[in-house]
Each structure stands twice: as C-alpha cells, then as structure tokens.
C-alpha cells in the first residue's frame, strides 16, 4: 500500500509543480504588460482631461448654443458599449463587468426600450452572443496596442448609428484600473452629452474667440472627445485586466506552493512509515530464524 501511495503523491506534487510554473509565468507576463498598459493609460488620461476641460469651457462661455450631441430626444433604443478582456484567468475581472452590463441591459429592456450591444473584447463578444440582445458590432483582440485611429474607427461607426437615429442614447461599461490591487467597474452615459454636467464647476471666464464658431469647435471636438473616452477606457480596461490577472495568478501560485508543502509532508510520513515497516519485517524475520 505504502509504495503505490507514495508514487501517487509524487505524481500529484509533480503535476502541481508544473501548474505552478504556468501560473508563475502568467503572473510575470501580466506584470510586465501591466507596466506598459499603465503608462499608456496615464498618458491618455492627460489628453482627455484637457479635452474635457476645453469642452466644459466652451459650454460655459456659450451656454445657449445648440449641438446635435447635447440635444435630448425620446429614447427608444439604448446602445451599450461593453469592454471586457480577450482572455480569461483573471479572477472576477470579466464576469464582474459583464454581469453589471447585463443587469443594466435587463433593466432597460424591462422599461420597454430596445437594447443593443457593442462588444469589445473576446469575452464580451462570447458572452453577449449567447444572450437575448442584438449585438450591433463586435471587436476582438484589439485592446493590446490599440491605436487612436482604431478607436476612431469604432467611434465613427457608433456615431453613425447615433446620427442616423438607430440609437438614442449610448452608455459605456468598462473596468477602471485604480491600483494594482483594486479595479473598479464603471459605467456612464456617453451620448447625449449632459450640458448641465459639463457646465458645472467654475463660471464663464469671459471673452474667448472661437474660430470658425463656438458650435463648430464644439461639434468638431465631440467626436474626438468620444474617441478619446473610448480609447482611454480600452487602455484603462486592459491595464485593469492585467492587474486582475496578476493578482489571480499570484494567489494561484501561492495556493500551489501551499498544497505542495502539505503533500510533501504526507509523502515524507508515508516514506517514514514504509521504512519503519520494512525494519519491523526484517527484525521480525531475524527473530523467527534465531
């Protein structure tokens, strides 16, 4: 019994060791990707914060102007943009954001409105293809190394839908990277822009010259702004995914180490027991002979 038991334990230890090697490797890959992603997210944030400030200033200085992007219309169709990861094994990263978006989708459709989805990230695509909502557009494997032009393409498609009245409101769902241990799911309304929201904080700064006009500047900033938000969200979400994976893999490696320790103990006991037994047998045999 002891010999076969020992062999089994040895085999389990080996198998757990190789799993641990994989989780360790994934952890390292995630941390190096995280470093790059964090840098990109930080750089992007500066750009969009400034863009946002400019937009707020314009609407403060010229509050009575009208723009197609701020005008509210009757909401019949809501478009949800859901950003998730391309790969699993990142703890609750994918399921958290997908569940949040799904709940919101059910909430909207319960009020009699139509819900359509733009899925970004393979996991998001796979999830919503199996659900009851129409998937308007899907984008897989784009998050890593996404360029501003790629996100601009996505935004053009979405803006096209909005301008043509295919959807009346757009909401964005993504995970934000707070620090290496915390990621936060976020959602907010992308369009129509809340003028009240962007006018608050500070008052009119006086005379600013706009060329060609405040409306023209505003309308040309908005697509760039939305592109920016989307780009920022994708980059942010990618950083969050890497952080989540790093944490998940770290605890997986820790667990593996723990199990190996326990198994090693059991193995040593079994080994000792079998040696003791052998000695007893030898001693017993010798006594019988003499």
């Amino acid at each position: 019994m002891a010999a076969s038991n020992m062999k089994d334990i040895k085999r389990r230890i080996k198998s757990i060791e190789s799993t641990m090697q994989i989780t360790k490797a994934m952890q390292l890959v995630a941390s190096s990707k995280l470093r790059k992603a964090k840098e990109r997210a930080d750089n992007a944030r500066l750009f969009f914060d400034t863009l946002y400030d400019t937009m707020c200033e314009i609407s403060r200085n010229a509050p009575e102007f009208s723009s197609v992007f701020t005008k509210k219309r009757e909401i019949r169709t809501v478009l949800l943009i859901v950003i998730a990861g391309d790969r699993g094994l990142a703890g609750g990263f994918n399921s958290n954001i997908l569940k949040l978006a799904y709940r919101r989708a059910q909430e909207i459709s319960a009020t009699g409105k139509t819900v359509e989805i733009v899925a970004i990230g393979k996991k998001s695509v796979e999830y919503f293809e199996k659900r009851e909502f129409t998937v308007r557009a899907k984008y897989s494997e784009i998050a890593e190394g996404i360029s501003i032009y790629e996100s601009s393409d996505i935004v053009q498609t979405i803006m096209g839908h909005y301008m043509n009245g295919l959807c009346d409101s757009i909401e964005l769902f993504y995970t934000s990277f707070l620090n290496t241990l915390t990621q936060e799911t976020k959602s907010y309304v992308l369009l129509p822009l809340e003028v009240g929201e962007i006018t608050k904080g500070g008052k009119a700064t006086g005379l600013t010259e706009y060329e060609p006009s405040a409306e023209a500047v505003f309308d040309s900033i908005v697509p760039g702004y939305i592109t920016g938000i989307l780009f920022g969200a994708i980059v942010d979400s990618f950083a969050a995914e890497q952080a989540a994976r790093r944490t998940a893999m770290e605890s997986a490696s820790d667990n593996a180490g723990e199990i190996i320790g326990e198994l090693q103990l059991v193995y040593n006991r079994a080994r000792q027991a079998s040696i003791t037994q052998e000695i007893t047998e030898i001693v017993g045999g010798a006594q019988v002979q003499s």
Binding site: A44, F48, T54, G224
Partner: protein, 135 residues
C-alpha cells in the same frame, strides 16, 4: 526679444512638447495663425497641417499635426492633436506607403464611410510628406 509663453502639445500617446516658446505658427481651418505671448483667449479647430515652433536658438522647428484643437488662455497654449511628429523624425518612406495605400483605397472604396476614412488618411499622409520636405 519678445516674451515667452508656455506651450504644451498633447497627444493620446504622449506629452509631445512641454516648454516655453516665443512664437508659434499653426494652421487652423480658417488659415494660418501666428501666436505670440499675451494673445487673446482663443480656441480653433486644426486640420492636418504644419505647426511651427520657435526654439530657444531662434530657429523654427516644424512638426506635422494630424488634426486637433488649439486652446490659448492666460495659462498658455495647449494643442491637442491625434498625432504629431517633428519634420525631421518623419519616416518619409512610411508616409509614401500610406499615401499609396490611401489612394488605392479611394479607388476601390465601396461605401461612403470607407471613402471618408481613406480621404482622411490620404490627407494625413500628404501633410506628413509635405512637412517633411519643407520642414
């Protein structure tokens, strides 16, 4: 010797320029605009075009801007652009390839969106080639 002002050129990828200058010349949708210190508060839309920045030694350095916005306020000048490259750092071969690629796409376009995209790409490529030659 004129007064200097702060200039920031920001793209989504990086902070492209952060420093002081005495004069910049930038192409807006309504024409080239020169900006000196104490300019009136001003916001304008930028198409793809050149941006000239007066450097410390008094010479102008040119960069290719691929669309964006310029904002002038008391705190300084901020240019937000989708992409910016200094003239001497432009990969001319790459720009030429994008030009050919864009022309090809314009020829075979199947939808309005594709045409618009290809045209925007062509404009960016031509701007870069132009700036690289004259910068």
């Amino acid at each position: 010797m004129s007064a200097a002002f702060k200039l920031k050129v920001i793209t989504p990828e990086k902070l492209f320029f952060d420093g002081e200058t005495e004069n910049i010349i930038v192409r807006t949708t309504v024409g080239d605009v020169g900006i000196l210190a104490k300019h009136i508060d001003y916001v304008a839309v930028l198409p793809s075009g050149p941006l000239k920045v007066k450097m410390q030694d008094g010479s102008f350095r040119t960069a290719a801007v691929s669309g964006g916005t310029i904002k002038v306020s008391k705190e300084g000048v901020v240019i937000l652009a989708t992409a910016v490259e200094w003239a001497d750092e432009i990969d001319i071969e790459h720009a030429k390839r994008s030009e050919e690629d864009a022309r090809e796409k314009i020829k075979i376009h199947t939808s309005g969106v594709e045409f618009d995209r290809a045209q925007a790409k062509l404009k960016r490529a031509l701007n870069r080639i132009n700036v690289s030659r004259n910068g």
